[in-house]
Amino acid sequence: MLRLERVNKYFFRNSLDERWTIRNLTLQVQEGDFVTVVGSNGAGKTTLLNLISGAYFPDEGRIVIDELDVTELPTHRRALYLGRVFQNTSQGTAPSLTIEENLAIAYLKGKPKGIRMALNERMRAIFRDKLAEIGLGLEKRLKDRVGLLSGGQRQALALLMATLAKPKILLLDEHTANLDPKTAEIIMELTARLVGENHLTTLMVTHNLQDALSFGNRTLMMDEGEVVLDVAGEERKKMTIQELLERFTLLRHKKFAEDRVLLSSS
């Protein structure tokens, strides 16, 4: 489904500040996989998602989605295959547009835009159904501007928008990190449900090690631009956060140090 072949990404290449962010990364994700990605700050998790989504282009290597080489395609040209939700709750929606206008953008994804009315009653009915399924009462607020919503509501809407056009791959970039624990839990449940219902291949970056192990079927741990640990199946099911951290120390001869991880796992 998704294949990265010997991908390299440098920042500030050929300057004193050069940083080798993604190092010879090769990764294969099967259709229907729900992969969680953990790693300390600067490990390259977000860069990885940015490379897949087309926000950055790799310096070397190939990125293939469903046998289609997308390495050189700009974001909007590969968007049809991808859905993405960001950490920043204001990034996944357009704040000064209404809920229904936001959903219309997502609904029209991949369709040529013309001089037709963007919204109609049939679409509104679909949106109301979809919003009712989320259970946050947003179906009664179609004409409210998204800027008025709370972070959690915006993130739920962003999730719905990312999955509405049934992408091949869903990219989640710490999409619960800016929410309070209770809301984060609701959003994670919603995520699991939408992924399950739409059979989406998913890549989720998270700082919450518990989430990393309890959601999905495969976990990657990244450090300094490489995947250092890749667990799935029985081994993963039995794994605890403690074991995960120990494995990391064993492999990299250093502690998995990261404030947010320590706080969220304590």
Partner: protein
């Protein structure tokens, strides 16, 4: 209205306006001098304005020149282009020279209606027409995409829309409207002057802001209504200032200063309020 589309919908401060306004007037004058009539002139003016906007848009999206600078560059280029189109710094569209502007055409079509009313009714209808067209357009798929681009470019790209393409359409469209305004004003006052565009961006912006202060509401219908009302009030205010302002020592040449200060005050107001509010 043109300023509204770039500034509010696209979040793109477009200084092309200072050039595309006289461009519209100049192109109209050129066509009328060549004997093509006012209507052809108006259409050509809109097209020329759109082209000017497209140029700014390409500078910004393709060459990655910052928005403000792209607009200024086009504006400077247009100054020369306008002079070339016109052939001299100002042109008269006087009826005595055989030029039949839309207003002359109207007067001949309805000889019994007094000219003042005719002008008013015609301009009113034109404004309503433009407003309704813009309202409808902004609710189409393309219009919605343009608004979303100004709001959140990252999102638009991840939803499969090319933000640059939307910017080009938006900027072209707004400059077409500005050129239309220039062409209409030239016919209204009966002459074209190379300097008629100076300060147009700020006047437009002042109108947009005044409208937002006067009328609340976030829907498209309200937003465009704000722009129309804002323009009228702004023009009335300047007319009052020009006609009676001499009592307090206000001279016509103070007008730009007045407009500039007005925009500065209104733009600074929210920050000032916030700062004052925090000092408890």
């Amino acid at each position: 209205m043109g300023v509204f589309i770039t500034f509010r919908c696209l979040n793109f401060p477009d200084l092309t306006v200072d050039g595309s306004y006289p461009l519209g007037a100049a192109v109209l004058a050129l066509l009328m001098y060549r004997g093509y009539g006012a209507l052809a002139g108006i259409v050509a003016a809109c097209l020329a304005g759109a082209l000017a906007g497209l140029f700014t848009g390409v500078l910004h999206t393709f060459s990655r020149i910052p928005a403000l600078l792209s607009g200024i560059l086009t504006m400077i280029c247009l100054y020369s282009i306008n002079l070339r189109v016109m052939g001299r710094p100002n042109i008269s569209l006087s009826e005595n020279l055989g030029h039949r502007t839309v207003f002359v055409l109207l007067r001949d079509a309805f000889p019994r209606v007094p000219e003042v009313y005719l002008r008013f009714i015609f301009l009113f209808l034109l404004v309503v027409l433009v407003k309704v067209m813009v309202d409808l357009f902004l609710q189409t798929e393309v219009g919605l995409s343009i608004r979303a681009t100004g709001d959140n470019e990252t999102l638009v790209a991840t939803q499969g829309i090319d933000p640059n393409c939307m910017k080009l359409i938006g900027i072209s469209l707004s400059n077409a409207l500005v050129a239309l305004a220039g062409a209409m004003f030239a016919q209204y006052q009966g002459f074209v002057d190379i300097n008629m565009g100076i300060g147009m961006v700020i006047s437009g912006l002042a109108s947009v802001i005044v409208g937002e202060v006067l009328l609340r509401g976030r829907t498209i219908f309200m937003a465009t209504l704000q722009v129309v009302l804002g323009s009228v009030v702004y023009r009335l205010a300047t007319a009052i200032a020009l006609n009676w302002g001499y009592n307090i020592g206000f001279k016509p040449y103070d007008l730009k200063l007045f407009t500039g200060l007005l925009v500065i005050v209104i733009l600074s107001f929210p920050i000032l309020k916030e700062k004052l509010g925090r000092v408890k």
